[in-house]
Symmetry: C2
Subunit: 239 residues, 2 copies
């Protein structure tokens, strides 16, 4: 059996709820096409309730993939409320080491949790920003995190796959996989530097080093900031 593009489109159409979601269908189909060629690149945890890994060459497989893809797209990346209880020992250390008062430590405890929640969503917002600028292009967003170590898929002039892994910072943990099976390398790009070590570097961001095939879309830090501000404000209204 081979990959059925029309079937993939149909299944995605039946799931999409609005024009915005429908504009993602071609990306979804590209991702499925890639997985039908490289099934080993699927990242999928099975469970008792869903014991089967989806096969992009079957109708059932495409249904599972479409549902995961669009559910992930709909999930909000507004920073969630902290769910963990702060460790009181951290406050004690802050007091003794940095001289904060107990009252300051109480305040910092909550703010620190908010900062962690905010940090946790930057990476997802970065993917959403790139998708928002690339959706009309040949790049396809691997939404739903079911392609191993790949966030965006494109094709070069020879119509060969180009895979891109995105990280928010140079010190973010990398997934171990760094080559697709036939030797196609996964290109990596990170948005920001965590250390101020390179002299003469114009900024702490790395937009000028985007992979060549992503360079012509005017992706930049200022534009990302605007996107984030707008996204958070919209989500806040819809909370």
């Amino acid at each position: 059996m081979s990959f059925n593009k029309e079937q993939a489109v149909k299944i995605a159409e039946s799931i999409c709820k609005n024009d915005d979601e429908r504009s993602l269908i071609s990306s979804f189909v590209e991702v499925c096409s890639f997985l039908s060629e490289y099934p080993a690149e699927l990242s999928w945890r099975t469970s008792k309730l869903s014991p089967v890994k989806p096969d992009a060459k079957t109708e059932d497989g495409l249904k599972l993939l479409a549902s995961r893809y669009f559910e992930a797209y709909r999930r909000s990346d507004f920073p969630v409320a902290p769910s963990t209880v702060p460790d009181e020992m951290v406050s004690l250390i802050m007091e003794k080491a940095y001289g904060y008062s107990p009252a300051e430590c109480q305040k910092i405890k909550l703010e620190h949790q908010h900062a962690m929640c905010a940090e946790n969503c930057v990476g997802n917002l970065l993917e959403r920003y790139l998708d928002s600028k690339l959706r009309q292009s040949d790049w396809s967003w691997c939404c739903g995190e079911f392609v191993k170590a790949i966030d965006f898929l494109g094709r070069n002039k020879n119509n060969e796959w180009v895979a891109l892994q995105i990280k928010n910072r140079d010190n973010s943990e990398n997934s171990s996989s760094s080559a697709i099976r036939d030797g196609t390398r996964i290109q990596k790009w990170f948005r920001s530097f965590s250390k101020d070590t390179r002299k003469g570097r114009p900024s702490f961001t790395n937009w000028e080093n985007l992979p060549s095939l992503m360079k012509s879309y005017n992706l930049n830090e200022n534009d990302f900031k605007k996107f984030v501000a707008k996204y958070i404000e919209n989500e806040k209204i819809n909370l």
Copy 2:
């Protein structure tokens, strides 16, 4: 060749600088004895400068191990100054999502970094506290992190090894290894709960569930707090 206990003691003695360090020698020797029985449990990264993994059955091996062990003991666990540059996008998200003012975000940025530094040292301080209470006991601290997934080694009534892995929180990442080769299980204990889910739990700490062989040393949260306060104050003076 078999493990030479007298040699291990001598090598450690030649490295120790004071009585406090000398009181760790018997722990060091126990750790080496364990590694001579289970060499595969050694966790050691080789490099160009030091390409050889130490063998606890040789003099050179013991020298390497002793140097790593006591150097780690001497290293301060005072929270270091932040070395990373904060991501400005986090401040923007804090502003938009939680309504902090730009000035508050600037302040939170530094405090958040201090909180992360403080967090990072709690685990090490916990090991130091346990060692301080157990040094005169049959438990031996695996200082220097060169025993895979094991922080303390003891022996049961049959003189068999008992291995303990310590974590500060129930959500700390666990090392993958969870059994020594011959089937001896590594016992695990964590100090604090990160979530408030168990009703009727007397506290967010877990001292009452210490492994049985560690129960008779009056280890408790209040005592740990006192240890941390004293440790940080001492280190601050010596900075």
